[in-house]
């Protein structure tokens, strides 16, 4: 029979039982996370007019905004080599994948405050549900791509084989940071707002609607942004654009994987301490 101990001692003192119970819970967390994600999606779109089209609109709106700025010469985009709207849409799609991965854990946990403080269930399930919500969103975007490719007459090459790895890497990068911020966001609710602000600045130094300039301070900022190369790689995997060198985006993915493990442990340790401050 399964035995649990809830002790005053720090989990780090005796990590063995904690790790075992996390592992046990992790297996339960997948079906539960699926249920929670299903509930969120059903609830989210039940009272909407446009329904699932909402998953598509942010990337479309970003594309329209960039196209507008380019055609009015407000923005110097450089030579994109492929049709510009396609270039911008793919950039926006991968950016949305990253920012969703970053914000979704905070959103899901924040919305589950009341069950967190009343029901004992595997806390990992909330993260599973966040991943699934991000995935659904991305799949809806992907599903319109064949139409877009057809419209612009541009098709991906063999680099598409790298797509799964790049998508996974982007999700891991976003999730790692997002999960790390979940406990903080439960204590100070302005964490999420601050993250959104940082993201709105970051989008400017990420090559979504423009080509990385060959020189100048913008080039330096773009190169320093660890997401730049990853998003360029994602776009390259779906177009005839040259794939950036693995050395430029590989470290981001590797570092994110390590960070994700740390973030998971932090999340599981911190949640009971943070949840007791929730009055819900």
């Amino acid at each position: 029979m399964e035995e649990r101990i809830n002790s005053a001692e720090s989990v780090l003192r005796h990590p063995g039982p904690a790790l075992r119970s996390w592992w046990r819970e992790a297996r339960m967390a997948v079906p539960l996370g699926y249920q929670l994600a299903k509930r969120d999606i059903q609830a989210k779109y039940r009272q909407t007019l446009l329904g699932y089209i909402w998953a598509l609109l942010p990337a479309v709106a970003t594309t329209l905004a960039f196209t507008f700025m380019r055609s009015t010469k407000l923005l110097n985009t450089g030579d994109t080599q492929i049709p510009y709207p396609l270039y911008a849409f793919l950039g926006a799609m991968f950016w949305q994948l990253f920012s969703n991965s970053l914000l979704q854990p905070m959103t899901v946990v924040q919305a589950s405050k009341s069950i967190l403080s009343k029901v004992q269930f595997p806390r990992e399930a909330l993260l599973v549900s966040a991943v699934l919500l991000v995935a659904i969103d991305f799949l809806i975007n992907m599903s319109v791509l064949p139409v877009v490719f057809l419209a612009f007459g541009a098709w991906p090459g063999w680099d598409i084989l790298l797509l799964p790895a790049i998508v996974a890497g982007t999700v891991v990068a976003g999730m790692a940071i997002g999960i790390l911020l979940v406990p903080l966001n439960l204590i100070f609710q302005d964490t999420r707002m601050a993250v959104q602000m940082v993201l709105s600045f970051m989008i400017l130094i990420t090559p979504i609607g423009y080509v990385t300039p060959a020189e100048g301070w913008l080039r330096l900022l773009v190169t320093l942004n660890p997401m730049s190369a990853l998003i360029e790689a994602g776009r390259a995997s779906l177009t005839s654009l040259p794939m950036p060198a693995f050395a430029s985006w590989g470290p981001t993915v590797g570092g994110s994987c390590v960070l994700l493990l740390v973030a998971l442990a932090f999340y599981l340790i911190a949640l009971p301490i943070v949840v007791e401050r929730q009055s819900a």
Binding site: S10, F188, I269, E276
Partner: protein, 506 residues
């Protein structure tokens, strides 16, 4: 010889099994909280820091902190039911959250075995825009039940919750009672080893509560360990064997439910008495035609204080309540309703009785009334008894009205199976055609004196009082009950006047 040996072996096996079957072990658990939100958040960051550096949270109070729980220990075995009682803020819910692992203790530990299911709030985790069906799947999944098993139990959950017709309706359209039924039905159908219920039957109709209690008994027979938290001592008594009394986070008592609940109620009574004025509390709008001059209560053998305890052993005792009034105002009426009402506080009342009374009164006169009441039929709890006198020709006027003429505690006792609410009266005393419960077998003595007041008259009154006592003595029960039937039927208009005058019925 061999059989004896086998017995011994069986005994030791049983003993070791019983030892194994401790499902919940709470050891020296303490928990501190901070009062202000800002401090709470600040301390959260600090506690997080010490947790991550492998230190424990310091078991010393920091500024603005208090102990929500301190040194709580107990164990719970299979098939046992433990009640947790205590006033609001005693730490009951905090203890539950530590047992279930939702929050960490500051000191001590909790060890649980098997599946622990806690219903801290029945409707939590329900999404209002989703249907009952969808919510069953989500909630059962939250409680750790595999989907295949939910499919199997689905019909049973719906049937027990009595929601066959509404299961595909969004939960936001459910009444609160329906949500409670659904939540409870899910909880008992997810095969818990330890089931924790926190004040879950506070809503829901009486029939469902009876059904829910039956279901809990069935779970106990199937060797589930139950922790039951309630402010309702009858529920605690009828469900649990042992009880823990928490007070300001400390374990004040642990023991058989009957004893613990009884002492808890007595203490509650004392606290209530300390708060209340020791004098009868006048009712608003009373025009005070009469003034209450003296109150005397006896149980037939001896005089009782105005705040008394009806012990568990008393289940069928008639109390004599002798009241003396003086007339403050000349009134040309000769018919009065005397209403006695019993409630738990000033605004809620559970039972009343009206007596019609012929009486001619003039300024300065005194008169006495004797009410013979059986108060032992109330379910355990603390009550106050009030009196209302209304002139028959205009019941919107209150000639005399006071709450809390008497206060009494009914100690825990066996209650009938189907009644386990506070303040309800045993069925055997209820008269169907009366409004509310007719709790008073009454023998009323009219004793007025129309002579002008003088010292000798006062004496006469006292004598009369004694003689009245002698006269009535202990009348045959049949006689007294027969009279109760006659006087207990009160006009509906008087009932509504009562409702207007003394507040709402609980």
């Amino acid at each position: 010889m061999t059989s004896k040996f086998a017995d011994l072996e069986a005994d030791s096996a049983a003993a070791s099994r019983a030892e194994d079957e401790t499902l919940v072990e709470v050891e020296e658990v303490s928990k501190k909280f901070a009062r202000s939100l800002r401090k709470t958040l600040f301390y959260a960051v600090r506690d997080l820091g010490s947790e991550l550096t492998g230190r424990s949270v310091s078991p010393v109070l920091r500024a603005d902190e208090f102990w929500a729980l301190q040194g709580v220990s107990f164990t719970l075995r299979r098939g046992e039911a433990l009640g947790i009682i205590g006033p609001n803020g005693a730490g009951k819910s905090t203890l539950l959250k530590i047992i279930t692992g939702i929050i960490k203790p500051t000191t001590g530990f909790v060890r649980t075995r098997g599946r622990v299911q806690a219903l801290i709030e029945l409707s939590s985790g329900m999404n209002p825009t989703l249907t009952g069906r969808e919510n069953i799947y989500i909630r059962a999944a939250l409680l750790g039940m595999p989907r295949s098993v939910i499919n199997e139990r689905f019909d049973e959950i719906v049937r027990f919750a009595e929601l066959e017709d509404d299961i595909d309706m969004p939960v936001q359209n459910y009444s609160s009672g329906m949500r409670v039924k659904l939540g409870f039905s899910i909880a008992i159908n997810v095969d818990p080893d330890v089931l924790i219920l926190d004040e879950v039957l506070a809503v829901g109709d009486q029939r469902f509560r009876a059904k829910a209690r039956e279901a809990m008994s069935a779970l106990l027979r199937r060797d589930v360990a139950l922790i039951y938290i309630s402010h309702n001592m009858n529920q605690v008594l009828s469900i649990t064997d042992r009880a823990v009394w928490l007070d300001h986070g400390r374990m004040k008592e642990i023991g058989p439910s009957r004893e613990v609940c009884s002492r808890y109620l007595t203490q509650q009574q004392k606290a209530a008495v300390d708060q209340l004025d020791s004098q009868p509390v006048p009712i608003n709008r009373s025009i005070d035609t009469f003034r209450l001059e003296s109150i005397q209560l006896s149980d037939g053998a001896q005089l009782l204080p105005k705040d008394f305890v009806i012990p568990s052993s008393e289940t069928d005792r008639i109390y004599d309540l002798d009241l003396e009034f003086s007339v403050q105002d000349d009134a040309e009426v000769d018919e009065f309703y005397h209403g006695l009402f019993v409630g738990r506080n000033d605004t809620e009342w559970q039972a009343y009785c009206f007596i019609q009374d012929r009486l001619t009164v003039r300024l300065g006169e005194r008169f006495k009334r004797r009410f013979r009441v059986d108060l032992s039929q109330f379910n355990p709890g603390y009550y106050q008894l009030g009196l209302l006198i209304l002139p028959e020709h205009d019941i919107s006027v209150v000639s005399f009205g006071a709450y809390a003429i008497l206060r009494f505690t009914v100690e825990p006792r066996e209650v009938l199976q189907d009644i386990w609410e506070p303040g309800r009266i045993h069925y055997r005393r209820m008269i169907d055609n009366s409004l509310g419960a007719n709790f008073l077998p009454v023998n009323l003595q009219d004793h007025t004196d129309s002579r002008p007041p003088d010292p000798s008259r006062q004496r006469h009154d006292l004598d009369a009082c004694e003689s009245v006592s002698h006269e009535i003595g202990s009348p045959p029960r049949g006689h007294s009950l027969g009279e109760a039937d006659n006087v207990g039927r009160m006009p509906a208009s008087a009932a509504s006047a009562l409702e207007r005058h003394i507040g709402r019925k609980q």
